[in-house]
């Protein structure tokens, strides 16, 4: 602790703080543009400059460490003029489309103009960039709007470890792109959308699906079905002014019904289904391993409700419900794709069931069914375009909306969201357990799977307080835990005493670490959960901005609240899932389930 002076005010500073941080703690607001706490702190834009006594030039406060006795002035005429000039220069290379720009309500560049009171741009001139890259199924890059802050570069390279975006060329020719003539659609981009969360302007955004969905809703020939992912309900309130962490499950269902969807289903239903499919796949892999080394006989296995064809005994098995993670693995870890569970992601399962089981039940031609998924995720826009995501030539899911897009549509439909009553999802794919809710947060799929797997094997509840596997709850990048199968049911005797180590990660850089262990033959785990976005789906690339750890924590708490409030908290106890199996699917991993609910992966180039 030491003291310094900011604007004639004595303030205390802590070792290692920047001028900006000290000012902020003392309620002095220094404008910033490129700075993003904890993610991007390289001092690219210089909007945050201040006068430091004794220094020859103005200093960027976001990267300049505070020192003892330092005398700082944050808003002198010189400083204000410098900021204005910098802003005007950026503005001279930026379209003034604000009136019809999707980001104007929360554009940080436009808001900064207001703060700085810039009224003219004196430097009208040539434009350096004009590329609008729509090649990706998930992300649109509008380089015209890019202000070169490089937040996306930091997120994509450091947090995600992907490196699909970097600065190219230099000076006036600088642009942010995948390099060479490459477009994002053919780059190694995982489609995670984390870059769209941090972009301060409208230069990175999801590919629009709202038009397609409005058209489907207006088509009298179509039955339009919608489903919502677990994480959407924990964030959809935010664009309507509700505080982060508000749960809006009931209002969301009500809004969707008012928008004209014919059936409002819940992806949580198929999250429960995923747990059964994935749980039994894991047990199948363990059994196949035991069979291979003689620890169990065929006869004993036949008494178990395992998939007809046992999977290969490849361990650790890794979750597959995050399509950004899948694409990343296909690019960077293609020799290890057999570690991935073969389960489709939950919304794909719901789509496949809608166009088969539900279509049959209702007597609707599957070609007249249009399935919309509302997701916290941009990668799912890409996922639905994968050729294997069809059944008999019919797409499982027809359109994916992000949480942000749904909010925009609700507004467009003139629905006063905050005053809606709470409504329920429709049957037969609306009922879910608490296990499904936690799919939305890092650690959740693992916990949900363990609640079922442990109980199937031992006949007892997972031995953790409130069923929460505490070591894997939270925002740390890599979390691990272990538990032992003890006093197992006789038919599972080959698992008696087996210690299962598990790992959970979110954000792709963490996944790389766990995959490197597998590549080196040193992975101690049997089961790994990977979610492509840091924190899991609650901060997926399609969620409302801004997203930071504070917001993440509040959404996470909301998700666990939803779980704990449910009368049923274990997927295998969902009565509607049991009906689905007895009526239609047979058994987990059985023939029908395998056809509709499982998939395979594709080797992709790492450049």
């Amino acid at each position: 602790m030491f003291t310094m002076t900011i604007n004639q005010q004595q303030v205390t500073a802590r070792e290692g703080e920047t001028i900006l941080e000290v000012a902020k703690r003392n309620h002095i607001q220094i404008p910033t543009l490129c700075h993003l706490e904890g993610i991007h702190q390289i001092g690219a834009c210089r909007i945050c400059v201040v006068e430091v006594e004794g220094a020859k030039s103005l200093m960027a406060s976001c990267v300049t460490p505070a020192t003892s006795g330092m005398v700082v002035r944050t808003h002198t005429p010189k400083v204000r003029k410098a900021r204005k000039v910098l802003y005007e220069l950026m503005l001279s290379d930026h379209p003034t489309d604000c009136l019809h720009c999707a980001r104007s309500h929360d554009c940080e560049f436009r808001q900064l103009g207001e703060v700085l009171q810039v009224d003219v741009s004196r430097f009208a001139g040539q434009r350096s960039k004009n590329l609008v890259d729509t090649s990706s199924a998930a992300i649109v890059r509008d380089n015209n709007k890019c202000i070169l802050c490089r937040r996306c570069v930091s997120v994509c390279n450091e947090i995600q470890g992907v490196g699909a975006l970097n600065a190219q060329n230099r000076g006036f020719g600088t642009s942010i792109s995948p390099g060479g003539d490459l477009l994002l659609g053919s780059a190694v981009c995982a489609a995670c959308g984390q870059c769209t969360l941090v972009c301060p302007v409208n230069a990175l955004k999801e590919k629009d699906a709202t038009k397609m969905v409005w058209d489907a809703l207006a088509d009298p020939e179509l039955t339009v079905v919608v489903q919502t992912a677990p994480a959407v309900r924990a964030a959809l309130g935010e664009p309507f002014g509700m505080p982060p962490g508000s749960l809006v499950t009931g209002k969301m269902a009500a809004a969707l019904r008012r928008m004209g969807f014919d059936a409002v289903f819940d992806t949580n239903f198929t999250a429960d289904l995923t747990i059964l499919e994935e749980g039994y796949e894991l047990l199948g892999r363990l059994a196949a391993g035991a069979l291979a080394n003689g620890a169990v006989t065929r006869e004993q296995l036949d008494t178990l409700n395992l998939p007809g064809h046992l999977p290969q005994p490849v361990l650790p098995m890794i979750t597959s419900c995050s399509p950004g993670w899948i694409k990343y693995a296909e690019h960077f870890y293609s020799p290890y794709l057999d570690h991935l569970s073969s389960c489709k992601s939950p919304h794909m399962m719901l789509g496949a069931l809608t166009k088969t089981w539900y279509a049959q039940k209702q007597g609707i031609d599957p070609k007249r069914l249009f399935v919309v998924s509302v997701m916290p995720c941009t990668a799912k826009k890409y996922e639905v375009t994968r050729p294997e995501m069809t059944t008999d030539g019919i797409a499982n899911v027809d359109a994916v909306l992000t949480t942000r897009e749904l909010a925009q549509m609700i507004r467009e439909a003139g629905i006063d969201f905050t005053h809606l009553p709470d409504e329920l999802f429709d049957s037969p794919m609306g009922l879910s357990t608490g296990a499904a809710d936690i799919f939305g947060v890092t650690g959740g799929v693992m916990e949900a799977a363990l609640r079922t797997v442990y109980e199937v094997v031992t006949g007892r509840e997972l031995p953790f307080e409130q069923l929460h596997v505490q070591p894997i709850v939270g925002l740390e990048r890599i979390k691990t835990a272990s538990f032992q199968f003890a006093d197992v049911k006789p038919e599972w005797s080959f698992l008696e005493g087996v210690t299962a180590r598990i790992a959970v990660t979110s954000g792709l850089a963490g996944a790389a670490h766990l995959l490197d262990e597998i590549a080196a033959g040193q992975s101690p785990y049997v089961f790994i959960e990977v979610m492509g976005c840091p924190g899991g789906c609650i901060s997926g690339g399609g969620q409302p901005r801004p997203v930071n750890d504070d917001v993440r924590r509040k959404r996470l708490e909301a998700i666990y609240r939803e779980d704990e409030g449910k009368p049923i908290r274990k997927s295998h106890e969902n009565p509607d899932i049991l009906t689905l199996y007895s009526e239609f699917l047979g058994s987990p991993g059985g023939h029908v389930a395998h056809n509709l609910l499982h998939t395979h992966y594709t080797v992709r180039s790492r450049t």
């Binding site: 490196g163 975006l165 600065a167 190219q168 995948p178 390099g179 060479g180 003539d181 490459l182």
Partner: protein, 165 residues
Amino acid sequence: MAQHCDCQTAVIDEQKAYQTLMQVIEDYDRKPSNLIQILHMAQAIFGYLPEKVQRFICEQMELPFSEVSGVVSFYSYFTTQPKGRHTIQVCLGTACYVRGGKKVLDALKGLLEIDVGETTPDRRFSLEVKRCIGACGLAPAVAINNVVHKRVNPNKLQDMLSQYE
């Protein structure tokens, strides 16, 4: 049958070139911090850094393409275009500029139908610009393969170029 064709030798040369590059990468311990040196060597081996060579380096060093491409496009001494047999450098230093260097450049661009930094499709010429090549007294100056041509007349460029096949 025995038609002469050198595509076979070209393939072998290319293989050799990649083997050499591989050796270079090894020698530099595959360290990302040595990327610039490795790119220099690669350019020396191939003459330029086409996307294919950049991708090879990315694969070998486990670096993102966007990063390698970013470095290549940042430094002006890296080129992604093949070099011509002859390199023309038009001086745009102050003296040459005021005495018609720009006109010479524009005329050359028109004649060769290429822009600065590019190479003619027949690989005969590459066009570059320089800041002062030390012939200010006899401006405007042009260097071809490092040989300086002085007091260049923009209307008589054809004669000058015809000396280079």
